[in-house]
C-alpha cells in the first residue's frame, strides 16, 4: 500500500530575510530635527500650476472579493499617518524647491533630499523595511523648467551608503554613481548635485549604489519633471510611479505591486477628476525584478508622449508598456461621469495590487 502524496501537507519554509534597520529612527529623527519631513518642500514657486487640494479623504470604498476581484482582507487599510505619507497626496504633490536667481539671471532651484530607513506598512498588516527619499515611496516629485540651474543637497540619514542619480543631461561628476564626483555618500554624509535642467520631459532619479536592484527595490526612486520653456496646456496634473515590493527579498519578482506607494489604494480612494477636463499623468516605471510594466485605462483613450520629450503625442491608445526606467506622459479627457478602472494590463500585477479607479464628476 502506498500512502497518497497529499498536497495538504506541502510546506515551505519562509524565504524572507529580515533586515535590521537600526538607522531608521536616527535618520528620521535627524530629518525632523532639521525641520524637514514629507512636507518640508513647500514650494516657493508653484509655476502657475492649477491648485489641487490633494487628499480626497473619507470614502473608503470596499471593492472586490471572490469573483468581484482581488482585494486585501476586506476593509483592512494601512496606517498612512504612521507611514508618514499618503498616496492620494503624492498624486498631485509637485515639489518645485526654493528658487532664487543666479548671477547671470537664471532661475536657481534648490532642494534638500534626505535618505532615511523607514518601516513602512505596505499592505494592511505587512511591514517592509524600506529605504526612502524624504520618508516616502516614491520619493518627492522634483519639478523644474528647462534651463533652470538645479542644486540638490543630498543628506544620507540611512544606515547604508546611497547616492542620487538623475536621468537627464549633466556632467559625469554629477551623475551620482560610485567612483565619480562625490561618489558614494556614506551614512551621515552629504553632497550637492548641481546641473542644468535638460532636456524637458518626465524623468526619474534613483539611488545608484550596489546592489543596484535592491537599492531601488527598497524604495529609493522618484520622479524628476522638466517642463518645457513654453509650458504645457493647463491640466489636472498627476504623477504616477509604478513600482513593487519584493517583501521576501528573494530578488525573484514582487509580492506587491502599486502606484504611488500603497497597493490597491486608489480602489478605496478613487482619483477624483472632472468631466471633460484635461488630465495629464506623468507616468514612471521604477519596478524592479519584472522586466515590463503597463498602464491601461477603462472607458477612455489617451495621447501618449514617450519620455515627454516631444510636444506631439506618438500614439492615441488605452494601453502602453514601459520597461524598467521608462516613462511618459498620458493626456486624456473623460467623456462620461462615473468610475473608470486603471491598472497594469499585466493583470497578474493588477491582481497583486496595481489597480485603481478614476472617479469622474461634473
Amino acid at each position: 500500500m502506498t500512502v497518497p502524496e497529499s498536497p495538504e501537507h506541502d510546506h515551505s519554509p519562509p524565504s524572507r530575510r529580515k533586515f535590521l534597520l537600526g538607522g531608521a529612527l536616527a535618520g528620521t529623527a535627524g530629518a525632523a530635527a532639521l525641520g524637514i519631513g514629507g512636507a518640508m518642500t513647500a514650494s516657493a514657486d508653484n509655476g502657475g500650476q492649477p491648485g489641487h487640494s490633494g487628499s480626497q479623504s473619507g470614502h473608503a470604498h470596499a471593492h472586490g472579493g471572490g469573483a468581484k476581484g482581488p482585494t486585501f482582507r476586506m476593509d483592512s487599510r494601512v496606517d498612512h499617518d504612521a507611514n508618514g505619507f499618503h498616496p492620494t497626496d503624492i498624486l498631485r504633490d509637485f515639489d518645485y524647491g526654493t528658487t532664487s536667481r543666479t548671477e547671470d539671471g537664471r532661475v536657481l532651484r534648490e532642494w534638500d533630499v534626505y535618505a532615511t530607513d523607514e518601516e513602512i506598512e505596505v499592505a494592511p498588516g505587512v511591514t517592509f523595511p524600506a529605504w526612502t527619499f524624504n520618508g516616502r515611496i516614491p520619493g518627492p516629485t522634483l519639478r523644474c523648467t528647462e534651463g533652470d540651474r538645479l542644486r540638490v543637497r543630498f543628506h544620507n540619514g540611512s544606515k547604508h551608503p546611497h547616492t542620487m542619480h538623475f536621468h537627464g543631461m549633466h556632467p559625469a561628476e554629477m551623475d551620482g554613481i560610485p567612483g565619480l564626483g562625490a561618489g558614494t555618500i556614506e551614512p551621515g554624509g552629504s553632497t550637492v548635485y548641481e546641473f542644468d535642467a535638460e532636456p524637458f520631459g518626465v524623468h526619474l532619479y534613483h539611488c545608484h549604489v550596489g546592489p543596484l536592484a535592491e537599492h531601488m527595490a527598497r524604495g529609493l526612486y522618484g520622479t524628476f519633471i522638466v517642463d518645457p520653456k513654453q509650458g504645457r496646456p493647463e491640466a489636472d496634473e498627476q504623477v504616477m510611479v509604478m513600482h513593487g515590493f519584493n517583501t521576501t527579498f528573494d530578488g525573484e519578482g514582487n509580492q506587491l505591486y502599486a502606484v504611488n506607494g500603497i497597493p490597491f489604494h486608489y480602489m478605496h480612494e478613487p482619483v477624483q477628476v472632472k468631466l471633460g477636463e484635461l488630465v495629464r499623468i506623468y507616468l514612471v516605471n521604477t519596478l524592479e525584478y519584472d522586466p515590463i510594466n503597463s498602464f491601461h485605462v477603462h472607458g477612455n483613450f489617451f495621447d501618449y508622449y514617450p519620455t515627454g520629450t516631444r510636444l506631439e503625442p506618438s500614439e492615441f491608445t488605452d494601453t502602453i508598456i514601459q520597461g524598467q526606467g521608462q516613462r511618459g506622459i498620458c493626456e486624456m479627457r473623460f467623456k462620461y461621469p462615473g468610475k473608470y478602472m486603471f491598472h497594469a494590463h499585466k493583470t497578474e500585477f493588477a491582481e497583486l495590487g496595481w489597480m485603481g479607479f478614476f472617479e469622474v464628476t461634473e
Binding site: M1, T2, V3, P4, S6, P7, E8, H9, D10, H11, S12, P13, P14, S15, R16, R17, K18, G64, G65, G66, A67, P70, T71, F72, R73, M74, S76, V122, A123, P124, G125, V126, T127, F128, F245, T247, T248, F249, Q255, P263, F264, E348, E351, L352, G353
Partner: protein, 388 residues
C-alpha cells in the same frame, strides 16, 4: 538495598534535589536569558497547513504554527491575486492553530498556489494539486467510508481465513513454512509502513517530532502489545494458538487502521480511484493477512464466532481509519498511527518466531527461508495492485 520503609528517608533527598533543580531553572529563566544575545537571524516563521477544505467559492485552510516565533498573517494571495479572507486576525503562537477562510471562486480540478504573506513580508506557500470539493461528513460519507473499510478490511481478511481447513491438512512442517510466509508478509508490511510514516512525517514540518513520531508510535505499540501478551498468558510462557491468533489479529488491525487512514485522506482530496481496481487490489493484498491470522490455529477448532471475531478485530479498524482519514487530515497523526501499526506488527513477528523453529530449534532452514521469501514477494507484488 536496605529494607527501610521510612518514606521521608527514601524520598526526602529526591524532593530536595527536584526543588533545587526547579530553583536553578527559575533563576536561569529570569537572569540567564538576559546574559545571552537575541537570535541574530530572521524570525523563524512557519505555518503548516494541516487541512484544506474546499466548498463552493471558499477555500478554508487550517494552519498550525510549527515554528519558534509567533506568526501574524498579513494578507493572502491565491494564484497571484489577493483575496478577502477571515480568521487569523491575531498572531498565531507556537503550536497554535487558526482557520483561514478565503473568498475565492476556485474551479474544480484546477491546481492552486496559495501564498500567505506574513506581517514581516515572508511568504508561506501551500499547493493544492487539484481542487476537489471536500466531502461533507454526512450520512452518505459515513456509509461510503464504512463500505470502503469493509471491502478493503473485513471481507479480504475473512476470505483469507477460509484457508484454515486446508492448513490443517499440511502437517507440522507445512505449518512452519506457512508461519514463515506470515513472518515474511508482516515484515514487508512493517518496512512499507515505516517508509510511508517517515515520508509523511517529513512533510509535516516537525513541530511534533516528525519521523520520531513514527518511532514513538512503533515503540509504544510494541510495549503495549507485549504487556497485553503477558496479561493474556497469565504468566504462562506457553503460547496457545488462539492467543497467538488474537495477537496477530490485533497487530494486523492496527496496521489496517493506517491503511484505512490513507484511503480516507486520499478520498477526501479526490485522489482515490474508487472502483474495481481498488477493491480487488486490496482484496488480494489483504487476503494474505487472513492467512496470517489463522496460521497458528491448525491444531485447534475455534468456534465460527471466534473466527469471525478475529476477522473483525483485524479488518474493522480499516473502517475507523477511513473515517478519521476522510475527516481529519493531519500528517502528524497519520504518521503516528502508521508507527503504531509498525510496532504492532513487529510484536506479532516476535510472537511468531518461536513457532517457526523446528524441533532442533533452528529458525532458518531452507523451507522457512523459502516461506519468508514467498511472503515478502507476495506482499510486494500484491501491493503493486493497490493505488491508494
Amino acid at each position: 538495598m536496605t529494607t527501610t520503609s521510612n518514606p521521608v528517608r527514601t524520598w526526602g533527598p529526591a524532593v530536595a534535589v527536584v526543588a533545587l533543580i526547579a530553583l536553578v531553572l527559575t533563576a536561569l529563566a529570569i537572569f540567564g536569558g538576559n546574559t545571552l544575545p537575541d537570535r541574530t537571524g530572521p524570525p523563524a516563521e512557519e505555518l503548516a497547513v494541516e487541512q484544506t477544505t474546499l466548498t463552493p467559492g471558499t477555500i478554508t485552510l487550517t494552519v498550525r504554527n510549527t515554528g519558534a516565533d509567533p506568526v501574524r498573517v498579513g494578507q493572502v494571495f491565491v494564484n497571484d491575486a489577493y483575496v478577502d479572507f477571515s480568521g487569523g486576525d491575531t498572531a498565531i503562537d507556537r503550536f497554535g492553530t487558526e482557520k483561514l477562510r478565503l473568498d475565492y471562486p476556485w474551479q474544480a480540478e484546477q491546481p492552486y498556489h496559495i501564498s500567505i504573506l506574513t506581517s514581516t513580508g515572508a511568504v508561506i506557500e501551500h499547493e493544492i494539486d487539484a481542487a476537489v470539493a471536500t466531502p461533507q461528513a454526512d450520512g452518505g460519507f459515513f456509509a461510503l467510508m464504512t463500505l470502503l473499510g469493509t471491502y478493503v478490511g473485513i471481507i479480504p481478511v475473512v476470505l483469507g481465513m477460509l484457508f484454515l481447513p486446508t492448513l490443517r491438512r499440511i502437517g507440522s512442517r507445512g505449518v512452519r513454512v506457512l508461519l514463515a510466509v506470515t513472518v515474511g508478509l508482516l515484515a514487508f508490511l512493517a518496512i512499507d509502513a515505516t517508509l510511508e510514516g517517515f515520508e509523511l512525517a517529513e512533510e509535516a514540518g516537525g513541530a511534533f517530532g516528525g519521523p520520531a513520531l513514527v518511532v514513538l508510535g512503533a515503540l509504544l505499540a510494541f510495549l503495549a502489545l507485549t504487556a497485553l501478551d503477558h496479561r493474556l498468558s497469565g504468566g504462562n510462557a506457553e503460547r496457545t494458538g488462539l492467543r497467538l491468533a488474537l495477537l496477530i489479529a490485533i497487530g494486523i488491525g492496527l496496521h489496517n487502521l493506517g491503511e484505512g487512514l490513507a484511503i480516507g485522506s486520499a478520498y477526501a482530496v479526490g485522489e482515490l480511484a474508487l472502483g474495481v481496481t481498488l477493491v480487488v487490489g486490496f482484496a488480494i493484498h489483504n487476503t494474505t493477512e487472513g492467512l496470517a491470522i489463522v496460521s497458528p490455529l491448525t491444531q485447534r477448532r475455534p468456534s465460527l464466532v471466534r473466527l469471525l471475531g478475529l476477522g473483525v478485530i483485524a479488518g474493522a479498524p480499516a473502517i475507523l481509519g477511513a473515517l478519521i482519514g476522510g475527516m481529519v487530515t493531519n500528517t502528524e497523526l497519520s504518521s503516528f498511527l502508521l508507527g503504531i501499526g509498525v510496532g504492532a506488527i513487529a510484536q506479532v513477528i516476535v510472537q511468531l518466531v518461536p513457532a517457526v523453529r523446528d524441533k532442533a530449534g533452528r529458525l532458518l532452514d531452507p523451507a522457512t527461508v523459502g516461506g519468508a521469501t514467498a511472503g515478502l514477494l507476495a506482499m510486494y507484488l500484491t501491493g503493486l495492485l493497490v493505488t491508494a
